[in-house]
Symmetry: C2
Subunit: 289 residues, 2 copies
């Protein structure tokens, strides 16, 4: 067994939400992770595809499990959902808990190169490799060959960059209000300066969806992105989804294939996510089923 | 205008969730209340029916707005949802904040007769009269002639008793894990002892759904009740829905018309509520549309 402890098993939408905890080697941290098993997977006999949901700044696996309402559509389509945490916890690095947009709860789905973060802020390796490998070992009903990814805000950045850095690994990607061009946005500049160093701009570009899509070659399923026009972070140019669309339209592989939907009046909250969760599950289902 | 202050207006499921606050005379308290306007009512031109959701112990209007996920089905059917708070706030009665199941957050939808609670713990009058009258004045698009009611736990008790005490006022009623026979359950005994006095058993019976249904005469739409078999409060005999069913089946009006669904493994949480919210909106829609 891959060492998961089950803290609770909760009936939800005909399936089961498992609240798990396990020891991550790459993060040197005990990590919470929630897994929703659709009805088809609860008895463990049928292999089901998997959709990873990467959460935004300050979130834990609980926020989207409680408020994102992916479970209904996931149950209907027979897709499992994995909700990872957003950073190592309790590392006690100086300053780790001083900001809501850096350190704890703000791992940015990268492997840090700057000390002290380079010791264990390896959320990229965790989400791409360690966590799924452990889950596929623990739950044989999860199909390692049919995995898609989505996320919100910082997690939208995570979903897009993990997809674009690993051609073919994820069958599809979508995002809610993603940080689409972090090297040009205050949140991204702060995070990449801290985790990669201010000078290492080549490294920054390796984790910027807009930069990555320019050079991407690989399978190119449509990318679905929803952003609310009432989202203050969108207005403050933290998200910059148009930069991603523009880069995609200039690219060989993704010309015309980033579907950016600007949703009138919607904000950055889980009210927004839950309003469109069904669409994102159905987007993934097109490529997973 | 009826004196509502709008703290926020949030896009949700094609409609708008309004987070309101107003001064209640009967509660002598500023009260939060959330109202979801479905798309059909947002421009204010079309009258829509209204479903009240009464929350359980410790809850505010926020819990179910965020986690109950009624908005999706309500938007689809063109039904407004009203989420009242569960007690006056900040009254400073001795002991008001000492228990999670009495006083603040635990108004039980009654008018208290014992001091000091009789001063302002009048959630019955608030939910039956003052709040809806103020809302119908403020929002002419809410149809005062088409109102239904539902609720969870203590709020399920509230929904059932308000329906049974006011024949014809509510077009339908349903409940999630309701306290169905409070005079025989620890929560109800504690609350009714405190709010009505230990001796006043006649008063207790006036707010007990199982007692009320025995004598009920009036319109008798089917009552939908969902209870999870994994619900610890059900196992602990706080809810006693079978007592209500038995009393209904012995009654003239409600024989065979309480549809109690025991949902395997579900607990008492919002994961349970959100899993069946759609069914309860559709139940109300049968009588409202």
């Amino acid at each position: 067994m891959a060492g998961f402890k089950t803290n609770s098993t909760i009936a939800s939408c005909g399936g089961k939400l498992l609240k798990l905890n396990h020891e991550s080697k790459v993060l040197k941290s005990a990590m919470d992770v929630n897994v929703f098993l659709p009805p088809a997977a609860v008895d463990g006999k049928k292999k089901v595809p998997v959709l990873f949901f990467l959460s935004g700044l300050t979130c834990t696996p609980q926020n989207c499990s409680e408020k994102g309402f992916f479970q209904s559509a996931a149950a209907q389509h027979g897709i499992a959902i994995v909700y990872p945490d957003t950073s190592p916890r309790g590392s006690d690095h100086p300053g780790e808990n001083d900001s809501w947009d850096f350190g704890s709860g703000a791992g940015f789905y990268i492997n840090a190169t700057e000390k002290p973060w380079s010791d264990n802020y390896n959320m990229y390796d965790y989400v791409v490799s360690e966590l799924p490998e452990a889950l596929f070992e623990e739950f044989p009903q999860l199909d390692a060959d049919r995995v898609s990814i989505t996320g919100h805000s910082m997690g939208g950045h995570g979903a897009l960059t993990l997809f674009l850095r690993n051609p073919g690994k994820y069958k599809s990607v979508s995002a809610f209000s993603p940080i689409s061009n972090p090297i040009n946005a205050p949140w991204g500049i702060k995070a990449f300066s801290g985790y990669f160093g201010e000078q290492n701009k080549a490294k920054w570009a390796e984790h910027d969806a807009t930069e990555l899509i320019k050079k991407y070659s690989g399978p190119s399923p449509e990318i679905l992105i929803d952003v609310g026009t009432g989202d203050q972070f969108y207005k403050d140019k933290q998200l910059l989804p148009e930069n991603l669309v523009e880069a995609a339209n200039d690219s060989a592989n993704y010309k015309g294939k980033v579907n950016l939907r600007l949703q009138p009046d919607y904000d950055h909250s889980y009210y927004f996510i839950s309003s469109f969760a069904k669409d994102h599950v159905e987007h993934a289902a097109k490529y997973l089923l």
